[in-house]
């Protein structure tokens, strides 16, 4: 014979489980609604001033090459913001329909930080890594083109580290190692 007290405890536990289940479903629906909405736009400070040279190292999948292309653009004076804008411009090129090195939809760079004048940290968004095609050469071209483009804007940097949503990631898409610092000189040498 099960005691009344035990019956009460079991009933309370079942009620608690049901309540938690309903709350979980509610949270899931809420998250789906948020996810289904329009992607938040990246807010950037308006850049004004005279146009300056911006060199982009554009990757080409057909011949595994990196080619420098110089354009004119108004660039901010803050080194981090300047680096971010350079990479954002590069990624925008890769997202165009006729891109020679296509990236996945939604790929972008959140921030570029300078820990010290020589060390840059690039914080990519999740879409950048999650939608990136897998392969040594494909991933190498992406990373090297970003490092060289950054170096062109911030000549003082000697090493670069990539994060995804603020966290260290083992590889970009299963191949190129993103877990440590990349030596800019070695990247330039390997790109020749």
């Amino acid at each position: 014979m099960i005691s009344r007290k035990l019956q009460f405890i079991v009933a309370a536990l079942v009620l608690a489980i049901l309540a938690m289940g309903f709350y979980l479903v509610h949270l899931k629906r809420k998250a789906e609604l948020i996810g289904a909405g329009p992607a938040p736009e990246v807010l950037t400070a308006p850049v004004s001033g005279p146009a300056q040279e911006l060199t982009l190292y554009l990757a080409n999948d057909s011949d595994d090459s990196l080619r420098p292309v110089t354009i004119s653009s108004a660039l901010p004076s803050d080194p981090g913001e300047r680096g971010r804008l350079a990479l954002h411009t590069l990624i925008t090129r890769y997202l165009q329909k006729d891109s020679t090195h296509p990236l996945g939809a939604g790929a972008d760079v959140h921030d570029v930080y300078l820990l010290d004048p020589a060390s840059a940290v690039v914080n990519l968004n999740a879409a950048f890594a999650e939608t990136h095609r897998s392969g040594i050469e494909i991933e190498q071209l992406t990373i090297f083109s970003m490092v060289l483009t950054l170096k062109a804007q911030l000549p003082q940097i000697t090493r670069v580290r990539f994060l995804v949503e603020g966290k260290t990631r083992d590889t970009l898409a299963g191949h190129v190692d993103l877990s440590g610092w990349l030596d800019v000189g070695m990247v330039a040498e390997a790109s020749k």
Binding site: D61, S62, G135, E137, G174
Partner: protein, 464 residues
């Protein structure tokens, strides 16, 4: 009431324990010992029945083609066809026989699974090789691969000599009162009684047991001992380090009192091939039915055959569709005694062959391959040799008419390999990734790489 509580608490603890055990349990595997290779195959449990993947089982044993046709799976192994039907026990063999499995055949996502309990009965029908399955330790022996050992107690000094029909390399654990030998790679099996009592002042008893994925031999001793391996790995000798206090009683002195054999030179592989990715880690997905891990393994096998036909000894890090971590791959390379490590990748982008070396700093002045280095920079003293290897491979590919690009890249596990190490990535010559999996293209690439590797024999071995 206390009794009710007690039951509830016990049931809860039991459920929690079972839950924890389920999470903690390692995936179970079958260890396969075959003349071609030793490898492991994951076990899949369906409706309480243990299943093994047919492709995982058969791929290392020969040329395999697997073709799902609706609910049917047609399997062509070394030219002979067999047919299986999803949900049916009966299957058709290459000789048109219709034997039955002990449980239903499974076809999941185009891959065929057979009940583990039927493997020993199934394999001879498909491979024409005998098979013996030890269900407890989950060890499968294909062909005449079993190593039966003999044990002989000798004196002057007291020692136990274990003799094997082929070289072994057990992990050894020596403690005060026992020596434990673990055979992880070798198909060592019992040669008679598993437990033998000696009643000797040095050796009390020995015990042999097969374990999941290996075998274990324990010698229970009365005094400390050392272990030595001789005769090219064919004998393991457990020798007393202190002379026994009492003269031998029951064991008669051996008629043959031989000196320890000088260790015969062991054949070491020249190259270790590492088919990148595997198991759940698929690498690039070229199409719904073609993944990078599959292309990499097929190319590694083809390259192995090409190298062996040129007299170059080869080992592979993986011969089946299983997951290996980067560190496991580096450790395999570093302990293989090979001279050259080649990681094999494939890509649908670009054309031809890419050859990569590790992108880490060159060695500091005075740094040698015996310097103490961080794990992620262990390749540093070997960069020059890696460069030599990369140049030779690239030159041979160019000579074979394949487009080649050489570069350095931050790629694991190259950084942690302590021999000459390169990675290659093959891409199709045309625009279709399907070309990567064609025998013609793979053969062309394998032949070029094999020639490049063979040409390195004099160059790299001298540098070691």
């Amino acid at each position: 009431m206390p009794k009710d509580y007690s039951i509830s608490v016990r049931v809860t603890i039991l459920l929690l324990f079972l839950l924890a055990a389920a999470f903690a349990a390692e995936p179970r595997k079958i260890t396969v010992y075959a003349p071609q290779a030793s490898y492991q195959v994951d076990i899949l449990v369906r409706d309480g029945v243990d299943y093994a993947g047919l492709t995982d089982l058969l791929e290392p044993l020969g040329r395999l083609e697997s073709r799902p046709e609706g609910k049917k799976l047609v399997l062509i192994f070394n030219g002979g066809a067999a047919e299986f039907q999803d949900g049916k026990r009966q299957y058709r063999t290459r000789s048109n026989a219709r034997p039955e499995l002990l449980s239903n055949f499974l076809l999941v996502d185009g891959r065929g699974y057979v009940p583990v309990s039927s493997i020993a009965q199934l394999l001879p029908h498909i491979t024409d090789q005998t098979a013996e399955f030890h269900a407890g330790p989950r060890r499968l022996f294909v062909g005449s691969t079993q190593y039966k050992y003999s044990a002989e107690l000798r004196h002057g000094p007291s020692r136990l000599v274990l003799s094997f029909p082929a070289p072994v390399n057990p992990s050894t654990l020596i403690e005060r009162d026992h020596v434990r030998l673990l055979f992880r790679r070798e198909p060592v099996v019992s040669s008679g009684a598993d437990t033998v009592a000696y009643n000797d002042p040095f050796l009390r008893s020995t015990n042999f047991a097969e374990t999941p994925g290996g075998a274990e031999f324990v010698a229970n001793l009365s005094q400390p001992a050392t272990v030595s391996i001789g005769d090219g790995g064919r004998t393991v000798t457990i020798t007393a380090t202190v002379p026994p206090a009492v003269a031998p009683q029951s064991a008669a002195p051996s008629a043959v009192e031989s000196q320890p054999h000088p260790a015969a030179p062991r054949v070491r592989p020249f190259v270790i091939l590492d088919a990148a990715h595997g198991g759940s880690e698929t690498g690039a997905v070229f199409s719904p039915t073609l993944m990078e891990k599959t292309v990499n393994l097929a190319l590694a096998r083809r390259l192995q055959k090409e190298l062996e036909s040129r007299g170059v000894s080869v080992v592979l890090t993986r011969v089946a569709d299983n997951v290996l971590t980067w560190d496991q791959r580096a450790v395999s390379a570093n302990t293989s005694h090979a001279v050259l490590y080649i990681a094999i990748h494939s890509s649908s982008s670009g054309h031809g062959v890419r050859v990569y070396t590790s992108m880490i700093p060159s060695p500091q002045p005075g740094q040698t391959n015996r310097s103490f280095l961080p794990w992620e920079l262990a390749q540093s003293p070997f960069l020059q040799q890696s460069g030599v290897a990369a140049s030779a491979l690239a030159a041979e590919c160019t000579a074979s008419g394949l487009p080649v690009r050489s570069s350095s890249v931050p790629l694991r596990p190259l950084n942690s390999v302590t021999i000459a190490a390169v990675a290659i990535e093959i891409a199709p010559l045309g625009s279709s990734a399907d070309e990567l999996n064609t025998p013609q293209y793979q053969q062309k690439v394998a032949a070029a790489l094999a020639s490049g590797i063979a040409a390195l024999r004099g160059k790299l071995e001298g540098g070691q």
